[in-house]
Subunit: 338 residues, 2 copies
């Protein structure tokens, strides 16, 4: 999690998030205003902590999904602004709690809130933002949207606990991994996309299309993110390459390299991930083993599978600028590693 979408113009990526950014700009300006206003509180520490994270450079992909989906389906009210803001607050609350859980020092190249204000403030400000998210959803008044978003809040928390219980265990299977990323990342992408058609009172088919699009985009997105952790640089990512390795996270490149390795290599992975021997030499060896067994290429191949599903999910919907922009985001996700 805590992903940054690199927009370095010099790299001329094949696909870009720019059409989506441009199409949603007017509404996202309102979302950004609402974010700042709802993160406000007379209790000074709350806006301080919230703004630290909010201003730290994420591209707000999740709320853009809500805005684009609602607009694509002809929604004319302003409930999508509040729902998109709720989605971003749920994400921000998760990041605050994640940093405590992972004992992270850096996020997007900046000190984490817990390093500046302590674990306590991170836990409690996260709770506050989650409360604000629910209040905004309640203000919108759509029980279906409340249902989808509150369900995703449970699923996300369940996924995080699952991740905790499989952590540092090299017998984690690819299916376990899929279950974790489906819950901790893809569920919110899916909910963010699905509340668009819900608020637009679209048909069940349209709702299902966006829900599936979000879920599969989220899976591909997280897989690429996990691949980048063994291949990008801190500059590109705003996080340090090898963070997942040092935290003992079992991601797909590691699962593939471990399962395809020989006994001696498996012992290396166990000593690294299970016993925490994750110094720079170990990271170099891990990266080498992942390369030896095509761990990055095959993680990308798996991500391409879910990307195809995301594209096909949108296929039945009529052409529109939003649809084209959403499809380009799928390509952009993959282009990050190519």
């Amino acid at each position: 999690m805590g992903v940054v979408i690199s927009l370095d113009e010099n790299k001329k990526p094949k696909a870009s998030v720019k059409p989506l950014v441009d199409l949603t700009k007017a509404d996202m300006d309102l979302v950004n205003k609402l974010i700042l206003s709802k993160a406000g509180s007379d209790v000074e520490m709350i806006p301080e902590v919230a703004e630290h994270l909010i201003s730290s450079g994420g591209k707000r992909l999740r709320p853009m999904l809500t805005i684009a989906a609602a607009n694509m389906l002809g929604y004319k009210g302003d409930g999508h602004i509040q729902l998109a803001t709720s989605v971003e607050f749920m994400h921000t609350a998760t990041l605050l709690h994640d940093d405590v859980v992972d004992e992270s020092d850096l996020r997007r190249g900046k000190s984490t809130a817990r390093m500046i204000w302590g674990n306590q403030a991170s836990v409690l400000v996260g709770d506050f933002l989650l409360g604000q998210a629910f209040k905004m959803m309640v203000d919108v008044g759509s029980i279906d949207a409340l249902d989808v978003l509150s369900t995703s809040a449970c699923v996300i928390a369940e996924g995080e606990v699952l991740q905790l219980s499989v952590a540092k265990n090299m017998e984690t299977t690819e299916d376990d991994y899929l279950q974790v990323i489906r819950a901790k990342t893809a569920a919110l992408f899916s909910a963010a996309a699905e509340v668009g058609p819900i608020i637009a009172e679209s048909s069940k088919a349209e709702r299902d299309a966006l829900k599936s699009f979000g879920m599969n985009l989220g899976l591909a997105f997280q897989m690429i993110d996990d691949a980048l952790d063994y291949g990008g640089s801190a500059d590109d990512l705003g996080k340090n390459t090898g963070d997942d390795f040092r935290e003992g996270k079992i991601t797909l490149p590691v699962i593939l390299a471990y399962r395809r390795g020989d006994d001696e290599e498996r012992l290396f992975w166990k000593s690294a991930i299970e016993d925490g021997k994750t110094d720079d030499a170990a990271l170099a060896r891990a990266t080498e083993l992942i390369a030896k067994y095509s761990g990055i290429e095959d993680t990308i191949a798996r991500a391409e599978h879910y990307s195809s599903m995301a594209r096909d999910a949108l296929a039945p919907l009529p052409s529109s600028p939003e649809k084209a922009a959403l499809l380009e985001v799928v390509d952009f996700c993959l282009a990050r590693v190519n």
Copy 2:
């Protein structure tokens, strides 16, 4: 927080929570079943952590308020069961997060979840229970109940952050203290009571009566709890006397003793609360100074003020067994220290 209502029969307290327990028993059996079912998950650690806390002997005063209020006003459906369970889950989630924030080792005489499963599990299982609470409220489908409960979730988190920012600062005023306990304790009592008339579709006057009753009962309850921390025993309370002192919490008995003390005594309080010199000798001195300045008696007197407000709030409602039981709970709260 983390208060246990002592029901030791040998003490023959003047007032008892028993009439409320008896009146709500049939519904509370359903609440307890729903609690166990909704704390369930395929992710093993979730029911383990949740049941550790759920089974640890709280008397479930908050959900009983919801049940009694709904029944008193003639509600015939089953939505109050889900709302009462939501209220208890919100409370349980707060306790899990509080233990992490306070770095507590014991709660109700048992090891805290964070001591057994770690801070990570406490944060994440708390998030899961909060998510389940919102899902249940959404299932009930009352936007007004959702509004009241989601607002209280924000207020509670805000109160906890406020408590954090005034922690270990002896210049905390009685007004600051009131603001903290209004948010972190009384807001949920108030919401728990108010959702009863909401689901029963009662008049605004009845809703306001229960809301005010819950708020003032909550204030009195927390004040008595704070007095007990300098006067009860670990057996009575299921927590250790002096816990608040050792954690550097600024509660009303401390505020009164500090403000009424001389310069030398104020230096003692600063060294204890601000610099953490809170060994047994310091606790003995603190208890002595609180006694010297009537810190306990006057905390009780303040609590009596809010108790009167709670009683008067219910006065306009017609007589009923539930009303009598709720009024007796107010007396019982105070009787805990007499």
